[in-house]
Amino acid sequence: MRKTTTVKHREPLIHIAKRDDMAAWQAWLIRLAAILIGFFVMSAVLTALASTSSGKDLSFGDILERLSRSVFGRLFEGKFSQLWKFLQETAVLLCLSLAVTPAFKMKFWNCGAEGQALFGGLAAMFCMINLGGKVPEPVLVPLVILASIIGGAVWGVIPAIFHAYYRTNETLFTLMMNYVATQIVAYYVYANGQGSNVINPVSTGALPVIGGQQYLLNVLIVTLLTVLTYVYLRFSKQGYEVSVVGESQNTARYIGINVKKVIIRTMIISGALCGIAGMLLVAGKDHSINTATVGGQGFTAIMVSWLGQFNPYIIAAMAALVSFLQIGAAGAADAYFLNSAYADVMVGVVVLCLVACEFFIRYTVKFRHSKKGGALA
């Protein structure tokens, strides 16, 4: 006989139940609160740490001022260079997040955005170096873009083929492909660096500067991609197929969707978008490449895409939030002689807060004597 059968039955103190659908504005209020809690707690911690390291008595306001100044610069004095850097970072992060979104919607955990972008960037770099001067610039730039798209797509489709035919674990496959791409780039940099491990910036085949702003074209490209991704996922037949495969592969098969084809096609798109992000970094920003060109944003993009609930417009807002935290916290920590890795700590905490708050959106907690909860069966 088990003991519990002899003990008088008591309701548990806390009881968790599924909540009916919450109004969207309520859910967003909870998420906003989560962001603010994470942000303010981590800023307060930074205030304390910065006071210790600099030996000054800093206030919370000092830190917030440093934070926003690192992101926006001195806007009121008419200096926009800082703001453009922020927009560029956001654009690249957004492009990577958009890239992984169709795959995630299909429940294909593409953790390889980093490698796909790097390989796309490498393809762009290869064209810029090897075709530069041999092909007229108006032909070269489209070639560079095309090469990056193909590069990213190839890197994305390899795990997809194996996943479609043999159900090979895609999370780890795409993850490992990141490091293979990194090592290929490392090889390329050493082989082309003329005795040093740096490739000097190449101007041939770079994206043209429009409106006098180096990053304007990048931002416009990503804005266009955001709208296109939204339309693709929301209104196209292929976007619908992606959702069905994500919800249930059996249903998809039953209604005549070729699941293998959808998986491979979606990963080509996902990889191609990553390739474009790599191209924006190589041809649109650095004009050079190294193993840290993507800088871990491929991993951040996975979180951004999930936080944006696979909706391109919300993802855009989340990308802006995350790059605000990254640039701001790094700048503020740096200003007080602390390591800029504080940015990662801050992003991690804010994302964890956002992830945790999903619980309060989907479930409700009932206490033993609460009248709302009612008696348990």
Partner: protein, 336 residues
Amino acid sequence: MIGTIIRYLSSSIPLGVPLLYGSTGEIVTEKSGHLNLGIPGIMYVGSISGVIGAFLYEQACGNRLANMNPALAILIPLLSCIIGSVLMGLIYSFLTVTLRVNQNVTGLALTTFGVGLGNFFGGSLAKLVDSELPNIILTNTSSFYDVSLPFAAKLGWFGEIFLSHDFLTYLAIAVAILTSLVLNRTRMGLNLRAVGENPATADAAGINVTRYKYLATCIGSAIAGLGGLQYVMVYADGVWSNNAFGDRGWMAIALVIFALWKPTMAIIGSFLFGMLCNLNNYMPQFGVPLGTDTQELFNMLPYVVTILVLIITSMRKKREHQPPQSLGLPYFREER
């Protein structure tokens, strides 16, 4: 030539140890049905917690080797490493078990957080405690950790390959074997595997699913964290440098698949990976000169091998080679 091979094998073993800790920890966690992608972050936190403990102790001893007590010099970093890693495990299990949120996102966020925390304290610790040293160099503590077995030198090649290592290396092997025994030979292990395969069935059989998931995640994290400690105290001789630990955490996760969720296979796998990682350093001594560029290509080997193993195991589709059935899925009792 023989001497080179012996040196190659002997120096490959310390490279495999962090991977062994990491993959054993991840196996324990995955057996409860949780794919913890936070392991890389947890290993960083384990590493930096140990470093902070050792740093503070060395400061308290006035940075003098003579003032340090060997037992404390080992225990303080060890305990702070375990505490740090278990705290990370608690965050992960609270979010994924109690709050039932997405495991992949939680894990990735935890990795971002953990790696950031490691690099932040690694780069700022000296400033925060106002020490005169600009960098974290814990050679004193390292000298207590990096002690080989006393009779190793007398046993020739056998001693150099197998016995010339520090106690954390042997602990890693012992932990892996113990984990294997617990998983396969005890009721606790059976229950844990049941939770990972089908939590609803386990729950119906009277197993406390939540407790098993929490325990497995926290113990797994503690084991993984030790890998970070071994890296900094033994392999890096007590010198912390930011990002030096690199992507070993991810490799450890990949090793779980390589090992087919068997800790004893992880022992073989991690030392094999250690050898692969070490190969580019030794190719010139084996008579194959490598340029700096081809060395980088050689560094690709462990990842390519992992991919091949992934493909081969998925093609063979053997029943005993599959991950726990409910891996990655949250469990909510009221849901069918």
